[in-house]
């Protein structure tokens, strides 16, 4: 089974332009928290310029997998990752890879909006500044405006760029976090239940934003909402108890899943 899908993706990489390009590839990924294993031999490919949704019941390891894609798991003392994860064919767990650089390429948006307790402007400009992407005030103004426009927030905040980012509403804060993430021009954006702390209207705005961002970025989103997965993603991966149960086109997963566990989950029989 694994062999099969591997062969299929190999073909995809070398395939002509209309075939999907694989941006990140997870091969036999196992993650342990101390002695406890949270992920078991996950093989999952992330397609470029597509939204991949990770779904599954709570505690099944979605966040764990997501965090292993930009090595945020490194910050958890007990956490250990085995297997291969590649970004554009490069092993991101290779000792030669600088984790700081990796995270500049693979950005992350968290479950709870977590703007820095600084101004909106400072929030956005922080990443470009530490990575040396901006040289002067004009550069900074430009990157702030561009990122906020992309995140669909600019019109709402353009008059108060120097007011605290923490003073925005929850939905605006989350879009600020997205602006902050895209300000460093990442290739991949990881989102861990980005709408779970938002009201339905803010959720709709963020979903629309994800939809637009797909053109320029590769997005991996964890969500516990079936509808959201169906709305925003092209690919869906279903996890259960640390195992990748099934992955495929979102349409197929939601209409005609192969695995009975997926069927049960999307019809709400457990979750």
């Amino acid at each position: 089974m694994n062999m099969m899908s591997d062969a299929a993706t190999e073909k995809a990489v070398n395939a002509p332009a209309d075939e999907p390009v694989i941006k990140m590839r997870g091969k036999d990924v196992c993650v342990f928290y101390g002695p406890k294993q949270a992920l078991f031999d996950v093989n999952l490919n992330i397609r470029e310029n597509a939204v991949t949704a990770l779904i599954g019941p709570s505690g099944c390891g979605k966040s764990t997998f997501l965090r292993s894609l930009n090595r945020m798991n490194d910050t958890i003392d007990t956490c250990r990752v085995t297997g291969d994860i590649t970004l554009d064919g490069e092993d991101i767990y290779d000792p030669a890879i600088d984790v700081v650089e990796l995270r500049a390429r693979v950005g992350m948006v968290f479950q709870k909006p977590n703007p820095f307790p600084k101004s909106i402007y400072e929030n956005v400009v922080y990443g470009p500044r530490i990575h040396g992407l901006v040289r002067n005030k004009a550069d900074m103004d430009e990157v702030v405006e561009k990122s906020l426009v992309r995140a669909g927030l600019f019109n709402e905040v353009k008059d108060r760029l120097h007011e605290p980012g923490t003073g925005l509403s929850g939905g605006q804060q989350q879009r600020l976090c997205i602006a902050r993430a895209i300000a460093v021009s990442p290739e991949v954006i990881l989102m861990d239940e980005p709408c779970s702390a938002l009201d339905p209207i803010a959720t709709a705005t963020v979903e629309e934003l994800i939809h637009e961002l797909r053109e320029n970025y590769t997005i991996v989103i964890v969500t516990h909402s079936m509808q959201q997965a169906a709305r925003v993603s092209q690919r869906t991966a279903m996890f259960h108890l640390g195992v990748l149960v099934e992955e495929g086109d979102t349409d197929k997963i939601f209409t005609n899943p192969d695995d009975p566990r997926t069927q049960d989950y999307i019809t709400g029989r457990f979750g």
């Binding site: 930009n70 650089e101 990796l102 820095f116 922080y126 530490i130 976090c177 902050r180 460093v184």
Partner: protein, 439 residues
């Protein structure tokens, strides 16, 4: 069973029966608890008020000092009978200045100059420090010799105490230190406007003295200042660096647990033990001078470090982890995460902890006694290597003196120390407000 109970007591819409859910008892308990709380706070305030009242009522007098302003005749016959001051500067240094003061008072009081005993007693009304006061005056203005000029001199400590009513005049004369004659003179001088109470700058600027009226805390204030500066300069960076390392960088394993436990224990070590340590390490081993504020500062640094480390770690822990994830998530290095985001948010807490630690150090006496800071230091310490004392040690030394004027000064010194502490706490509050305003 439950069903049965429900059906047995049907709910009657017309007369809804209140269930007894123990509301009365709960409210009573709450009232009791509030009362306990209020009583505790009241007691606390009461004791604080008593403490402040006793200290202030006893010590406020120390900020006034009895002075005597009389026309003094700077007679050449007394100062420089052989007219040799041009050649020999020692003449002006060694002259019999107390005689000038005595003569001035004898004249002012109209005492018979031939009554040896009375004249001697009159001379005792001014402090021995009048020698220095008059000498300095003459050295600065040598042309006063031969003239009569009103000069202000410090009164004797006993006179000061008498005037402030600290001496019980109902005690029979032979059992008190001030005779009836002296009391009469004092009253006469006060009536003539020669003797009056003035603001006592001496208590702030003078060094050690065996005479209460000229003893001051100048050396102690400077010593304490040096030590606080040393503690701040050493303990703050070391403590903050150690905390950041332990909290943000060090792996969480047995070793860091052991270190954590030891730091907590260190905070509970009696301060006198730090004094012994300082004596052994800094003085006996490293050969630093005794009584120096440098050694005091080092000892207090050791003592303050655990406090600062514990406070800093608590402040760092209180910074939400989401801020750290946010910084790391956009590719900040750990160092950037700490210095750009975590530390600024922890700064108010660190600051408060540091000032609490400093305040503790400022009030610390025991370790300083062991390293010899309980010395009789007259001159200002020019550097932290010079002998000095500290505010609490000065209080301790004055508290050991029996004289009435020293008792008053002890309380005065306590007031000064409390004022310093209050100023530090207010500074902590102001700084914290200022930092916290940056969201």
């Amino acid at each position: 069973m439950t069903d049965a109970t429900i059906s047995a007591t049907p709910i009657d819409a017309a007369s809804p029966r209140r269930r007894d859910i123990g509301l009365k008892k709960r409210y009573a308990a709450e009232r009791r608890f509030r009362f306990y709380g209020q009583a505790a706070i009241f007691l606390g305030i009461l004791f604080l008020a008593i403490l402040l009242w006793t200290v202030v009522s006893k010590g406020v007098g120390a900020f006034q000092q009895t002075m005597i302003t009389v026309p003094v005749e700077f007679a050449q016959s007394v100062i420089d009978p052989k007219d040799k001051r041009a050649e020999d500067p020692n003449v002006l240094l060694m002259a019999n200045y107390p005689l000038l003061a005595r003569n001035a008072l004898v004249q002012a009081l109209g005492v018979d100059p031939d009554d040896k005993k009375a004249v001697k007693a009159v001379g005792g009304l001014v402090s021995d420090s009048s020698r220095v006061e008059l000498r300095n005056y003459v050295m600065e203005n040598p042309d006063v010799i031969g003239k009569t000029i009103p000069v202000t001199m410090t009164a004797n400590g006993l006179v000061d105490s008498t005037l402030k009513g600290h001496i019980d005049l109902k005690v029979p004369e032979e059992r008190r230190q001030v005779s009836d004659q002296e009391v009469a003179w004092i009253n006469q001088l006060v009536d003539d406007g020669i003797m009056q109470k003035q603001f006592n700058t001496g208590i702030f600027v003078n060094g050690a003295s065996s005479r209460a009226e000229t003893a001051g805390m100048g050396v102690a204030i400077i010593g304490s200042f040096y030590m606080m500066a040393i503690v701040l300069v050493l303990a703050l960076p070391i403590g903050v660096a150690a905390s950041i390392y332990l909290e943000e960088f060090a792996p969480k394993n047995r070793w860091t647990d052991v270190i954590e436990v030891n730091i907590n224990n260190l905070a509970a070590v009696p301060s006198i033990v730090f004094g012994l340590l300082g004596l052994a390490v800094f003085i006996n081993f490293m050969g630093l001078p005794r009584s120096a504020s440098l050694v005091g500062g080092l000892v207090l640094t050791l003592m303050t470090l655990p406090t600062i480390i514990i406070a800093t770690r608590a402040a760092l822990k209180a910074v939400p982890p989401s801020i750290r994830s946010a910084a790391l998530g956009i590719g900040a290095s750990k160092m950037q995460m700490v210095f750009h985001h975590v530390l600024p948010l922890a700064a108010p807490g660190i600051l408060t902890g540091t000032i609490i630690g400093l305040a503790q150090a400022l009030g610390e006496t025991a370790p300083l006694l062991l390293i010899g800071m309980v010395a009789f230091v007259v001159d200002y310490p020019a550097t932290p290597m010079d002998p000095a004392t500290a505010l609490p040690v000065q209080i301790f030394m004055w508290a050991n003196e029996a004289e009435r004027a020293f008792v008053e000064r002890t309380s005065g010194a306590i007031i000064i120390l409390l004022l310093f502490l209050a100023a530090m706490n207010i500074a902590a509050i102001i700084l914290r407000r200022k930092f916290e305003r940056r969201w």
